[in-house]
Symmetry: C2
Subunit: 357 residues, 2 copies
């Protein structure tokens, strides 16, 4: 009596939830072993073409979906790649991610995106989360705040492939994909000089972040190279938000000896700077020329349109994904190290194109 009760309640459950079909169900249908089915589905050379075909047919009929957790557990591979970015709400990062995803999906990998919001703590949490989820690799762009690299060292020490892009860190000695920031600064400065600018300011990012430091070094060296004035007051450090772009532009306008060109290390801050210039009826580019960095879509939509550096986000995303795949494919022992530095491209727009020239 008790048994009957139990069984009937179980039956109700079963009829509701309809168990997923497993490899065993397929094996039962064909009267072969589960192992054979597994091998057939993986196109193992030791399984006959006939069996493979039959297995695939039955799998389709039963709407078989492989249990990712089981295979991940057994094989030790989750087929998941973790991605850490400061924020996804810029075109640069969302484009990088989109292209990474495309490449990785093709090889059977899925991605988990996490945002650090430029916070060191959140970045550490993200790393822990990703390690917990047993990702097969991590592709990251570091938060501005991050100085202590111990969490990234932890990833390395676990033998999980780590690829950095854009915001990298030399000391870590891992794969890196980015653009030539130093050279980009040269391009910008030389472009501005060609337009007749003689006093070029730079609203730069945080000095301790490598890419921004490279941009600053590039700016300084280019200015020196062309014997232009290199005043301390012309070089300011910023967090590169719209808001701070406004503040730093206001600061530059207060100078006794104003610049006739401003090179801003980020487009959002460049937009803020442009707003101030427009509000104060300062003609751009004739009074002050402006160049941004990143080629965010809005740069071409504002008035005047902002010259900027195209960072090849799509390319970066694809290369980062491919670099991971290189690691994943080969045995863990051989450790190749990729440092890919792409040439960036200066897109000249109205904000730095002097018609008077």
């Amino acid at each position: 009596m008790l048994y009957l009760l139990k069984r009937s309640s179980k039956d109700i459950k079963n009829s509701n939830i309809k168990k997923k079909t497993t490899i065993k169900d397929i094996a039962n249908v064909l009267n072969i072993s589960a192992a054979a089915v597994s091998k057939a589905l993986h196109d193992d050379s030791r399984i006959s073409a006939k069996t493979k075909k039959a297995v695939r047919q039955v799998a389709k009929n039963l709407n078989y979906q492989p249990n990712h957790l089981a295979s991940a557990l057994r094989s030790g591979k989750s087929n998941l790649v973790g991605v850490i970015v400061p924020r996804t709400n810029s075109n640069f990062f969302s484009s990088v991610i989109e292209n990474m995803e495309e490449v990785l999906n093709k090889e059977g990998y899925n991605i988990i995106i996490t945002q650090s919001n430029e916070s060191y703590k959140k970045e550490c949490d993200s790393i822990d989360t990703l390690l917990f989820t047993q990702v097969d690799g991590i592709i990251a762009s570091m938060a501005n705040e991050t100085i202590d690299l111990k969490y990234y060292e932890k990833v390395k020490s676990k033998g999980i492939p780590l690829i950095l892009f854009d915001r990298g860190e030399n000391d870590l000695n891992v794969d890196y994909i980015g653009i030539n920031d130093y050279e980009s600064s040269h391009m910008i400065v030389e472009h501005l000089i060609k337009q007749g600018c003689k006093r070029i300011a730079h609203i730069g990012g945080y000095k301790r972040t490598r890419i921004f430091n490279n941009r600053i070094r590039g700016y300084v060296d280019a200015i020196k190279k062309h014997s232009l004035p290199l005043d301390d007051e012309l070089l300011v450090e910023s967090n590169l938000t719209i808001k701070d772009g406004r503040a730093k532009m206001q600061q530059l306008l207060k100078l006794n000896h104003r610049p006739d060109a401003v090179y801003v290390a980020g487009d959002y801050a460049a937009l803020g700077a442009l707003q101030i210039l427009n509000e104060q009826n300062i003609n751009v580019p004739d009074d002050i020329a402006l160049v941004g960095f990143g080629d965010e879509p809005f740069t071409s939509m504002v008035t005047p349109s902002i010259s900027s550096i195209n960072q090849h986000s799509a390319e970066i995303g694809k290369l980062a994904a491919k670099t991971f795949l290189d690691h994943a494919k080969q045995s863990s022992v051989k450790q190749l190290l990729n440092k890919i530095i792409l040439d960036a491209e200066l897109v000249v727009r109205a904000s730095s194109k002097k018609v008077s020239k």
Copy 2:
């Protein structure tokens, strides 16, 4: 001899890769069973306080990290929640995600973010990916393109909790969190009327998307209610990008009888509209008042600042997460249905604040 060889080769391996510590290692140290360790870590009532304490201590010493895959496989729960959004590169969506993540992380869930890029196909792929990854639930905002709901039905039929936010769909009959779009339109129209506007245009989103349809209905009804002119030419459909905002604004300016106010259903399109107005030296708000939708941060940074509707993105994210947790916690049988409609808030800024009044 053979044994010795095998062992030594194994030892080399171990010293290199240093195996992760498992529940068994802890059990061995304490001379108890693995099951006891598992229960201790889960704070089972049948394990003594002393044992629990010891287990936790050893776990810490050995730097034990639970194997998520194994527990997920055994328990049938992956503790992963899938999130699908059109794009992450707006403040609205990234803020929603950030807050969702916060709530879910606290309960031990992690999230997998995927972007549909407004493409129906990519949305379907995302759903398949998430199902494959065995997420415990899906929280989504639908792509503009999506009309066919069969993929979402698939999620429902698998018994996986599905929660929609912002871009939902009535026919699906699932939980939904959003704002009162219809009422928001009323607020905007009435605000503009108070400013003295008599001819109000609406650059709306796609009619077939429910939220945009509600905004359009709200606009139409509010106009009717106050006996203002309701010309077909004043109501235009847009994809709400910056670019299309520009195009649709230009279209409105070509009318014989120009509007004196424009209500745009999205901030990016409102920005495009503002650019055109600025370029053509049309005074905002005196000649034409402007109101956007979404309260993206840049609305307060442009000149003039754009009035907009605050959608309470943080709230939406948190509520969506909580709604999922409600489902996750209770047995699958009882199916409660939440439709949460938040009141939005009109943030009045320079673009619709007539000083002449």
